[in-house]
């Protein structure tokens, strides 16, 4: 379910890091909690994002949720498909539903993130609450 090559945050984002470039999305657990996604508000290429700080919003029918960046860096690409197909966050959150690509400012930040196993244990705890 949760790709082992990704790293995860407690706010339910994932990042796939390739050298100094990270692709960021929300997890399957997050999309299930949100329900039907209808709108995604994202930064623009060139914008700066900061680890643990909000960089956008996901609107579902039911509610709006902030998205927090797993890392600090500069946005180099935004998933433009989400503008007209926000439901990709529900149907393929770990793939076609990716949000942004960033150039990492400090690769050491990813050491603080959870592995897939750690994340799965974490959401089991969340579900128990």
């Amino acid at each position: 379910m949760y790709p082992p090559e990704f790293l995860y945050t407690k706010d339910h984002e994932w990042i796939q890091v390739d050298e100094s470039i990270g692709t960021i999305g929300i997890t399957d657990y997050a999309q299930k909690e949100l329900g039907d996604v209808v709108f995604v508000e994202l930064p623009k290429p060139g914008d700066h994002v900061t680890a643990s700080e909000s960089f956008g919003n996901v609107e579902s029918v039911k509610s709006v949720s902030e998205i927090f960046s797993p890392v600090t860096g500069e946005v180099i690409a935004v998933n433009s498909k989400l503008q007209n197909n926000p439901e990709l966050l529900n149907t393929d959150p770990h793939g076609e539903g990716w949000l942004v690509r960033v150039r990492l400012a400090d690769r050491a930040e990813i050491d603080k993130l959870m592995t897939a196993d750690e994340y799965e244990a974490y959401i089991q705890q969340e579900k128990a609450h």
């Binding site: 329900g35 039907d36 209808v38 709108f39 919003n57 609107e59 579902s60 029918v61 039911k62 709006v64």
Partner: protein, 374 residues
């Protein structure tokens, strides 16, 4: 609303059925309730185009009986109960002296000395206490909520589904009428009422028969596209239909006139709680009025967001959401009457930015053939 920690959530008799069906459960006013099964959008569209079934067993039921039943109800509710015939229902409000509602409700008349009130789950206990407190008339008042499960079958195909499993034939039951009925082999009370803006029915019966009625109805409606629907779709459906939700459009500080519910206030019937305030407001006007608005860009308004007109904050959104059937982002809000006219451009403050919206006539959605079915 979240229950205080340590307080066990209440459950309807269908709790295990919902969980087995994969429903997402939430704490709704202290009740562990299904918010969605297959997705709010899908459930919402099913109710608009086919049918959906809702477990609304958390709703409260209060009986008022005896020779003084009518007198008590005339005093504590806003609508004119004397206009009801046997087996007729009426949308109304339980009133406070300040012209606001302590709750909204549906009053069902079995006979001139026997009424059943259906009230909101979160308010049931205080509604009951309030009616008892105002019962100087000597009517018999009982909170019978635990005796009733309630399922709502809603949608344009509800009647043909129900016809397969219910007798007498539900097709000739008129809008806002009810009667004893046998549905899925279970005796109960069948009412042609609902909270979705569609044709539909609400069935009240003994909780221990819940799974039988639920499963039989779902099976009977499979070919028609009947699916279970949760409180998420119930909320978006009632919002499209422009219905007030207590705790959002209605509260203890908002009068019926402010909430556009003047049509359920009948001062001509005689004295009732809050009548003086409503009469005064009818004469002098209201300080705020409920309006409906549509967002004119892609932004989505949510409950509590500030409303701006010509550079000034003038009010608050009480309900805001994407409307799955209308495919627009809509909302309800209170604004001063001076800026409440249909067509006016307003702005909604969303995370520090102002997004454009336009005031529109309510309801947002009205089903076709409404008059024929009623």
């Amino acid at each position: 609303m979240i229950a205080p920690p340590g307080v066990a959530l209440k459950r309807t008799a269908l709790n295990a059925v919902h969980r087995a069906a994969g429903a997402r459960m939430v704490d709704f006013c202290g009740w562990d309730m299904p918010v969605e099964y297959s997705g709010i959008t899908r459930e919402h569209l099913a109710v608009r185009t086919a049918a959906g079934i809702f477990d609304v067993s958390h709703m409260g039921e209060i009986t008022v009986r005896g020779p003084q039943a009518l007198a008590l109800l005339q005093y504590v509710t806003s609508n004119d109960v004397s206009r009801l015939q046997d087996y007729q229902a009426q949308y109304s409000a339980l009133m406070l002296p300040n012209g606001a509602a302590i709750d909204d409700c549906v009053v069902h008349r079995f006979s001139s000395e026997h009424y059943l009130l259906c009230v909101n789950a979160a308010n049931t206990d205080q509604d009951f206490a309030w009616i008892v407190q105002n019962n100087s008339f000597g009517a018999d008042v009982h909170n019978v909520s635990a005796l009733y499960a309630q399922l709502a079958l809603q949608g344009p195909r509800a009647v043909e589904i129900l016809e397969k499993v219910s007798e007498p034939d539900p097709a000739d039951l008129q809008y806002y009428r009810f009667r004893p009925a046998r549905c899925c082999g279970v005796e109960g009370i069948l009412a042609r009422t609902g909270y979705t803006g569609e044709d539909g029915f609400e069935f009240y019966f003994a909780p221990d028969q819940s799974a039988r009625v639920w499963n039989t109805l779902l099976e009977a409606g499979r070919a028609e596209g009947l699916i279970p629907a949760g409180l998420g779709a119930r909320n978006t459906l009632r919002l499209e239909a422009g219905f007030a939700l207590y705790g959002h459009e209605l509260d203890e500080r908002t009068t019926l006139l402010e909430a556009n519910l003047g049509w359920i206030a009948k001062p001509a019937k005689g004295n009732f709680l809050g009548r003086d305030v409503l009469l005064l407001q009818r004469e002098q006007g209201v300080p705020k009025r409920l309006i409906g608005f549509v967002m004119t860009d892609r932004a989505i308004a949510r409950d509590g967001y500030p409303v701006w007109v010509e550079g000034k904050g003038v009010g608050k959104v009480t309900s805001g959401s994407p409307a799955p059937f209308l495919r627009k982002n809509i909302g309800l809000a209170y604004v001063p009457p001076s800026c409440a006219e249909v067509g006016r451009e307003i702005q909604i403050e969303i995370r520090g930015k102002l997004a454009p919206a336009r005031i529109v006539a309510l309801p947002f959605y009205k089903r076709r053939n409404w008059d024929k079915a009623t």
